[in-house]
Amino acid sequence: MDKRVIVTDTIFDPLQEVQRFQNAMQAKGQFGACVTFVGTMRDFNENTDVQKMTLEHYPGMTEKHLSQIIDEAKNKWDILDAFIVHRVGDFKPGDPIVLVATWSAHRAEAYEANRYLIEELKSRAPFWKKETLKEGTRWVEHNTLA
């Protein structure tokens, strides 16, 4: 079995990661549905001051909680597998930040578990965003609502 949680400080290709994980899945042939969510850093249209974004995390606690969230989703829904990749460190507009992928026999479970994973990740996984402006840096204080 492949690692279900990856925290990486280098740029990643979310759809290639999904493909790689899926190719290694034991449940191949059993899943009828795969849902993926990719969160990407947008351009700073409203805020052209921002030059860079940095993501700090709590190594260890992050991976622990992402794994817990996946276990919870597996208990709540009849999913075959789930996979999370989260970027940390410095990144620029257009870079993928987070990938959540879920596989199930039927589509409802894959959708619901996927949404659960990203909402729980956003509310519980210890990541913190910092913006680099021309005049210095600023911590993002609250997550955007869905």
Partner: protein, 77 residues
């Protein structure tokens, strides 16, 4: 052994502390760890804490060897 205390993100920068090792004597709760590690600094609103990487409240007991962490609301995803 010691109690290991970690600070993250804006809190780490504001306090200027990344990590501290405290002798466990007299440190019975997360609140006591905060007081000792920060020299009784005022707690920012929405401050979060974890013991051994699990979220806890400030009355949570601590013991020798624990890792205690303080950080602001999370903003990942």
């Amino acid at each position: 052994m010691t109690i290991s205390v970690k600070f993250f993100a804006s809190l780490r920068e504001k306090l200027g502390i990344d990590e501290k090792q405290l002798a466990p004597a007299g440190l019975e709760t997360v609140q006591a760890v905060w007081n000792k590690a920060t020299d009784n600094a005022k707690q920012p609103p929405n401050l979060l804490s974890a013991v051994n990487m699990e979220y806890v409240d400030f009355n949570h007991p601590v013991k020798d060897g624990d890792e205690v962490a303080f950080f602001p609301p999370v903003t990942g995803g």
